[in-house]
């Protein structure tokens, strides 16, 4: 049941994608023992696109993300990034996890530079970039503080800067705001959009929040309960930058209702 809103080419807001497929997922399948987590998943992600994967908790969407990150191997099918098959972690990917996973003994700046150390990239050059990212995330004044001195929202901003510091072309986000309170969440969504617009990365954003997916994305894929398959696809053609006030609009609410129906339909099955 594909929705009418879905077009053959990914629905990009004009001016934001660079076109071209950067990630191609073909007949992906993942089983854990007898448990079938993902069944026959196929989709493309366009370069520069903000794609959300929306689904209920435990539907296998995090597993999907971990497979794209090269941390888990698929049971069948394949994932290609820039036409190269994914067989392990890759430099062109940055991951933001559900919790910030900062190293408590490192300052904010040292945490952001952690990937640079692991990847053995030239530090002085990336130090400048790290400071710039922190400024963009509006946390540059905290660069010398330790994680425990920051609020939850601040920590997740640091985690986003860390995922971007080595200039990856793809940003994977696994329910990054689910541990935050509702107000901080809205704020973070606006911030993320701003950071994304400035950096023009391809983002694959996994979430169980319908509002969040609709607000942030160029396109939303809806996944059903396990075993996960795509049950709906919806292009969000709202102009950017979007303010949080957009969530009050009728157009936005129509999109949200559409997505909710799709999820409810999958439950009824």
């Amino acid at each position: 049941m594909r929705s009418a809103a879905a077009s053959p080419t990914p629905g990009l807001t004009p001016g934001w994608g660079h076109g071209g497929t950067i990630v191609r997922i073909t007949a992906l399948k993942k089983t854990f023992g007898d448990l079938e987590a993902i069944r026959q998943l196929s989709f493309d992600v366009a370069d520069g696109e903000f794609l959300s994967v929306l689904g209920p908790s435990g539907c296998g969407k995090s597993t999907l993300l971990m497979m794209i990150a090269g941390l888990i191997n698929p049971s069948a099918g394949e994932i290609r990034i820039k036409d190269a098959k994914v067989a392990g972690p890759r430099r062109e990917i940055g991951v933001v996890f559900q919790s910030p996973v900062l190293l408590p003994w490192r300052t904010v700046l040292q945490n952001v530079l952690f990937p640079i150390e692991l990847l053995k990239l030239p530090r002085p050059q990336y130090r400048r970039r790290a400071l710039e990212l922190l400024r963009m995330a509006k946390i540059d004044e905290f660069s010398g503080l330790l994680p425990r001195q920051l609020s939850g929202g601040m920590r997740q901003r640091v985690a986003i800067c860390r995922a971007l510091v080595h200039d990856p072309s793809i940003l994977l986000m696994d329910e990054p705001f689910s541990a935050l309170d509702a107000i901080t969440r809205d704020e973070m969504a606006v911030e993320l959009q701003r950071i994304w617009q400035a950096n023009r990365k391809t983002v694959i954003f996994v979430t169980h929040s319908i509002r969040e997916a609709a607000f942030l994305s160029d396109r939303v894929l809806v996944m059903g309960r396990r075993p996960a398959t795509i049950i709906d696809e919806l292009a969000i053609e709202l102009p950017r930058p979007r303010a949080i006030a957009v969530t009050e609009d009728e157009t936005f609410n129509r999109l949200v209702r559409h997505l909710r129906k799709a999820i409810e339909a999958s439950h009824a099955e």
Binding site: A69, G70, F97, Q98, V101, L103, F114, E117
Partner: protein
Amino acid sequence: MRNNIAKRTAAIAWPTLVTTLLLLVWEVSVRALGIRSIILPPPSAVFETMAQRHDLLLTHLWPSLYLTVLGFALSVVGGILVAVLISYSNIVRKGFYPVIVVSQVIPKISIAPLFIVWFGTGTMSSLLLAFLVAFFPMTINAAMGFESVDEDIHRMARTFMGSRWQIFWKIRMPNALPYIFGGMKISITLAIIGVIVSEFVASQEGIGYLIKLAGGLLDTPLMLAAIAALSISGLALYAIIAGVESWAVYWQPPSDAVAAGGG
């Protein structure tokens, strides 16, 4: 900041007050009840003995402290090395680790006479006993520290293509540091016990020997003076470790709760 200093002052002031009060009660009651010095000398007499016979006390204190620190240092190095093996080798973790944990039930002090048989009455026995008792908590704490790395942190490092070597030095090691200091605080007190017990059993020098000797001579003030000197040294060693800890593990409050399990 000011609040912090006030808190710290209170943390020192109250125990000091209580200690002073207890010493005072001791002093007054011993005098009031006319208890003989051979049974229980007043604290003033103990301090007097410490001052008068400080040469004798120091002569015996140094070898004990030397062996304590050496045995402790060996247990720290050995404990960390074994802990690394436990976290990186399946054979060690599955085969040796359970044995190490279960062998904890052996009261290691009871091995002291056996060590005398094997290594003689010299310093070697004391050193080995100190090492042995201090080694276990050190190993187990360090192993816990290496193992307790959050799974998400591990995954994060893998997405940035961190090697095993990098993950060890940049994640596991700092993660284990608070646990290692927790282990050190337990181990240093145990190392003292190891040395003293060994000196009780058979030795010609050391503070344990002095305590036993004074006991044999019914010189209770000297005995208490030796115990006091030993306690003060133990406290100083513990304080040094706690001081280094608060500098090295700057990202979290001191692990007093961990150390409380030892002693």
